[in-house]
């Protein structure tokens, strides 16, 4: 038993190392990897600081690492174009845009993880059950999935948010409502492929229960091809959420949410401050590109036989 565990962990380390080597020969994937790590790494650090600030009732902890206080109003410094002092410029109230964008990162990161994670859980369950049982279970599952797929994601999310109220968590719930059907489709297709393989028969013969087969045998095998899609999809969620927040259905001000920064900046666009709307939008784009590049890289790595599972 003990030796077996060691073998498994050894294989995991080596597969990560293999991926590192792979990236060294694929600069786009490496760029994507660096952007992704920078975005989520920073979000974790900044998120923890903001949490500490809440716990100790001292919000200043939240901007301890930032060049400026993202909430400090300074009319004298309003609408300054990007310069060495304010690399992203300042907004209508003289707040430093760079600090605001860094401060807002954790929400974007958290929502992308929450939405994709929940969509994988819900869609995965429905998709695997549909695919595994087939027949009328499948028919019902897929009809329900179709109904949700028929709604345009953003519009249904807005309607759901109108129903349950505005805010980050509600936006995440609204997005999950429209996000799971794609995963249901993906998981179903993969399950149909996997369930005919011998190891599933072997598990059945050895007396494993249905749920055991689905979660212990099918789920881990289906997950590998879905990882690359989910990576790209994190970016899609960030885009969708930025639209929701751009239209004014995200976290209320003054929290510097990226999509809302753009829509606030749009009031001063193109004059007197083109950068106010454009720069937060460009930051969103860079993060999304990073995730897309990494996802494509993972997909190529898997199809080229890098991961053996």
């Amino acid at each position: 038993m003990a030796t077996q565990t060691v073998v498994i962990s050894e294989r995991r380390i080596s597969s990560l190392r293999l991926f590192m080597t792979y990236m060294r020969h694929n600069p786009p994937t490496l760029v994507g990897f660096i952007i992704t790590i920078a975005f989520y790494g920073w979000s974790i650090i900044e998120g923890i600081l903001q949490l500490l600030g809440m716990v100790f009732h001292n919000p200043a902890i939240g901007w301890a690492l930032l060049p400026y206080n993202p909430f400090a109003v300074n009319y004298a410094a309003a609408f300054q174009p990007p310069s060495l002092k304010h690399i992203f410029g300042t907004d209508n109230l003289g707040r430093d845009l760079f600090s605001e964008i860094l401060y807002g990162a954790p929400t974007e990161a958290l929502i992308s993880i929450l939405v994709v994670g929940s969509a994988i859980l819900i869609g995965g369950l429905i998709g695997m059950i549909s695919g595994y049982f087939g027949k009328y279970v499948d028919e019902t599952g897929m009809r329900v999935t179709d109904m949700f797929l028929a709604f345009p994601a953003i519009i249904l999310a807005l309607a759901v948010e109108a129903a349950i109220g505005r805010g980050a968590i509600n936006a995440a719930i609204a997005l999950v409502v429209v996000w799971w059907p794609t995963y249901a489709r993906l998981f179903r297709a993969e399950t149909l492929r996997i369930k005919t393989q011998y190891f599933v028969d072997a598990a059945k013969l050895s007396g494993t229960g249905t749920m055991g087969i689905i979660f212990r045998h099918i789920f881990p095998n289906v997950l590998t091809p879905i990882i690359s899609y989910a990576t790209i999809d994190l970016g899609n969620v960030i885009l969708a959420y930025s639209i929701i927040s751009f239209l004014g259905f995200g976290v209320p001000p003054p929290y510097p949410e990226w999509g809302r920064l753009v829509s606030e900046g749009f009031q001063y666009f193109p004059a007197p401050a083109w950068w106010y709307a454009i720069i937060p939008g460009v930051v969103i784009t860079i993060v999304v590109i990073g995730l897309a590049l990494l996802g494509d890289g993972i997909s190529e790595y898997i199809t080229s036989g890098g991961i053996t599972t």
Binding site: L158, I243, T285
Partner: protein, 337 residues
């Protein structure tokens, strides 16, 4: 299975999906406003008005009875009068939806031209700087939030070069043509109102391009990849060996076959454009369905939100059906299942 039975089955599925869509909307409506009468009666509700609204919308009946009336109204296209605009909702949609349709169709034209062109060029110049540039370009545009694409276009072409107007449907000083189709450019063309046609066409270019830029990458990538796949097929070798010009091989054999999968995806893209128009219309003040929807959301005008969502959802369902049918009709080799 024949085409007829395939269509019947898809048709039945579509009806079930539409019923489900109506059911989901009904549920959402009820979570939004357990008692909409108070919300619709205005900021200072008078009891008699609240009562009248309650009666008109059957709000005192059990939920399943309400669903029955809801279903009946939706099927008859009778969505009642809008509490904010004091106009029948169907009339509002009649005015605003064609504008979105015009924007979407214009964007589709741009997508078809841009997608096929860039895809074919990238495939012919596979793994050269041209190919990389095209792929990098659409990676960037489809990773951009649509509002950023829209603003960059405004910044460069409307405010920078001053080539095209930044916002609006047409020059507000011109009187709009009579409503025939509801699409401003088409109406002006039908009536021969050239100044208005020219103005609305100029207003249409930027939003349509913005909408297209976000989505053309899917088509471009699809065309490129299927052309590269097809290039390895024996019939292409035959075509080259029998001495066809390269141009004929590329256009008549490779591109034509690559278009088959693209047609299906184009139908699906059309559906996503209907939804994507929401943000584009917001930035360009293009007063279409998306603009109407966001306004309705701000004003908590839920009957209109629901009607608008329903119209767009039906558009998506129809586009999906068309995609299915096209998929089967365009390529006779595909078996109908």
């Amino acid at each position: 299975m024949g085409l007829a039975s395939f269509l019947i089955r898809r048709g039945i599925n579509m009806v079930i999906t539409v019923l489900g869509v109506i059911f989901i909307m009904f549920i959402i409506t009820h979570i939004i406003t357990p008692n909409p009468a108070v919300a619709w009666a205005g900021p200072h509700p008078v009891p008699s008005i609240v009562e009248a609204i309650t009666k008109e919308y059957h709000l005192n009946d059990p939920v399943y009875v309400q669903f029955y009336y809801f279903l009946l109204a939706v099927i008859q296209g009778n969505w009642g009068e809008d509490p904010m605009y004091h106009q029948p909702i169907i009339q509002l949609i009649d005015t605003y939806f064609p504008r979105t349709l015009e924007l979407t169709i214009a964007a589709m034209i741009v997508i078809i031209i841009l997608g096929i062109l860039t895809g074919a060029i990238a495939a012919v110049h596979k793994n050269t700087p041209t190919d990389y540039t095209i792929r990098a370009f659409y990676l960037v545009t489809w990773s951009m939030p649509p509002f950023l694409v829209a603003m960059l276009l405004q910044l460069a072409i409307a405010y920078g070069l001053k080539l095209l107007p930044a916002t609006g449907l047409a020059n507000p000083l011109l009187s709009p043509p009579k409503l025939i189709t509801g699409m401003p450019t088409v109406d002006a063309l039908i009536e021969g109102d050239w100044p208005y046609f020219w103005s609305s066409l100029r207003h249409l270019i930027l939003p349509a391009t913005a909408l297209a830029l976000v989505a053309f990458g899917i088509i471009s990538r699809l065309i490129r990849n299927s052309m590269i796949d097809i290039a390895a097929k024996p019939f292409i070798r035959t075509a080259i060996m029998k001495g066809l010009r390269e141009r004929d091989v590329v256009f008549k054999h490779m591109l034509r076959n690559a278009l088959i999968p693209a047609i299906t995806v184009l139908a699906l893209t059309f559906a996503s454009l209907l939804a994507g128009a929401v943000v584009i219309e917001d930035v360009f003040s293009w007063t279409g369905m998306g603009w109407l929807l966001t306004q309705a959301l701000y004003q908590q005008d839920y009957p209109l939100v629901m009607a608008g969502t329903f119209i767009v959802a039906i558009g998506v369902v129809i586009a999906n059906l068309v995609a299915d049918i096209l998929y089967a009709v365009v390529d006779p080799r595909i078996k109908l299942e």
